[in-house]
């Protein structure tokens, strides 16, 4: 569905998306990496359970929220990929351990 416009070579890093390794370019946002990996849906909404995925790509709509490195509700479009990053899609509201 999405293709990269810039094609010159760049360093790649590997992140994990729902447990599967995905090779992406350094400097990509997590949201761009998800879309290039064909993952249009990153979460479901807390109240109705409707599917949501990256939309505005500029930090405004909050549709791209995912869990990154153990922290939920992070804006995938505003965060750059890092080697070894663990990205999990999110179902419903973020969980914070009440005892944490």
């Amino acid at each position: 569905m999405f293709r990269r416009l810039l094609t010159e070579a760049a360093a790649t890093v590997t992140i994990s998306v729902d447990g599967a390794p995905v090779a992406v370019r350094r400097g990509d946002s997590v949201a761009a990496a998800l879309l290039l990996a064909g993952r249009a849906v990153g979460r479901t909404t807390p109240v109705t359970g409707a599917a949501r995925g990256p939309y505005c790509m500029m930090g405004v709509c909050f549709d791209c929220l995912v869990e990154i490195d153990g922290v939920g509700n992070r804006q995938a479009c505003m965060i750059e990929v890092e080697q070894g990053m663990q990205v999990l899609s999110q179902r419903g509201a973020r969980r914070i351990d009440p005892l944490s």
């Binding site: 807390p46 109240v47 922290v71 509700n73 419903g92 509201a93 973020r94 969980r95 914070i96 351990d97 009440p98 005892l99 944490s100």
Partner: protein
């Protein structure tokens, strides 16, 4: 436009009264302001709360408890009529205490409230940290004690007002938004209310316009001295249940959708609905002291709303002596009192006897007594 009754104010107080009155007549017009109005209904915290209210005023404690007792049935009736769930839950409530002074003051307050309630009884317990922890596992080590009563609970004020307006519309009550009242006249038993360029007429008039009540009631010879008191609220992102759904905490609650709301500030700053960082920081600090896991939560919004405060903090229910048929009703607990306003206060306005608990809630209580020897 003519109707039997005009209600000025489409918030929780006016709507609850109109809903109660609509049992007797459907010829009711509600005149509301526009979106620039100071709407306490939209900005408030959403507790159906009994504990801590009414020290020295057992009649008000009784009134509040009567409303809390009626709320479950009131919410069920609204849901039946409209399909809208006001999310009322009578969970019992806990107020958390963070210092020895707070524990001492609260213990004394609860004991006074029990003593003042006499034969009505006043069920409460002071809880130790282990008891609180068993009710709400998220509670932190800085909490020294808590006061608990079975009377308290929550309701979502936004769903409540939506349900009331839907129920009113279904009964044929006319709702007129954007009708800021410019003038009220009383002549030969008829009230003429000019609002937004149109004159509305009725035989009976109820003013339930929040802080605007003072100015409007004065036009009909009623002195309703209320002033705005600002409260600031912080709200987090939606979270999976973090606080217990089994019990409600005074100023930190999680909505059914998952947002955590916090706020217990009281400021006298006039008609200013701005928020300030020092106050919000204090609210957040207390919330994190009570529930340390909240330090991980992201805040998404803050706002302020204006409570409607009388000098003694109690409601004012006035009946005009110079313009028979005119009433004024105002309070700072429009959510808690919604049920008793709809079920009981409206009966009085409709022509019944004044409810016993409200005998002292007249504006004359503020009159400076003339010297008596």
């Amino acid at each position: 436009m003519n109707s039997d009754i005009i209600v000025i104010g489409g918030g929780l107080v006016g709507s609850a009264i109109a809903y109660g009155l609509s049992r007797q007549t459907r010829s009711i017009t509600i005149l509301d302001e526009g979106d620039r109005a100071f709407r306490a209904t939209r900005g408030n915290f959403g507790l159906v709360w009994v504990q801590s209210k009414g020290d020295g005023a057992p009649h008000y404690v009784k009134w509040t408890r009567r409303s809390a007792d009626l709320w479950g049935d009131f919410a069920a009736e609204l849901k039946d009529a409209t399909g809208i769930d006001a999310y009322h839950r009578r969970t019992g409530g806990v107020h958390l205490l963070l210092s020895e002074d707070e524990v001492k003051d609260r213990t004394a307050l609860m004991e006074r409230l029990r003593a003042q309630s006499g034969n009505d009884g006043y069920e409460y317990r002071m809880l130790d940290p282990a008891e609180i922890k068993s009710m709400i596992p998220a509670v932190g080590p800085l909490v020294l004690a808590g006061s608990w009563t079975p009377y308290d609970g929550v309701a979502n004020p936004l769903y409540t007002i939506r349900a009331l307006h839907a129920a009113l519309a279904a009964r044929g009550v006319v709702y007129e938004p954007d009708r800021t009242v410019e003038d009220i006249r009383h002549d030969a038993g008829t009230f003429s209310v000019r609002a937004g360029g149109t004159t509305f007429q009725s035989k009976k008039l109820v003013i339930a316009a929040g802080n605007g009540t003072k100015k409007l009631a004065a036009l009909l010879g009623m002195d309703v001295p209320v002033t705005p008191q600002r409260g600031q609220v912080l709200v987090t992102e939606r979270l999976q249940p973090l606080l217990s759904e089994e019990v409600t905490v005074t100023s930190i609650r999680q909505t059914a959708e998952g947002s955590v709301m916090m706020g217990d500030s009281q400021e006298d700053v006039g008609y200013d609905t701005g928020t300030t960082v020092p106050v919000l920081a204090k609210i957040a600090e207390r919330a994190v002291a009570c529930f340390p896991a909240l330090r991980h939560a992201q805040l998404v919004r803050s706002w302020a709303a204006l409570r409607i405060m009388s000098r003694d903090g109690l409601p004012i229910y006035a009946e005009s002596k110079t313009a028979p048929g005119a009433f004024a009703a105002t309070c700072h607990s429009g959510v808690t009192l919604a049920a008793v306003h709809a079920r009981v206060l409206a009966e009085w306005i409709a022509g019944g006897a004044r409810p016993e608990e409200t005998q002292k809630l007249v504006p004359e209580r503020f009159d400076v007594p003339t010297t008596a020897h």
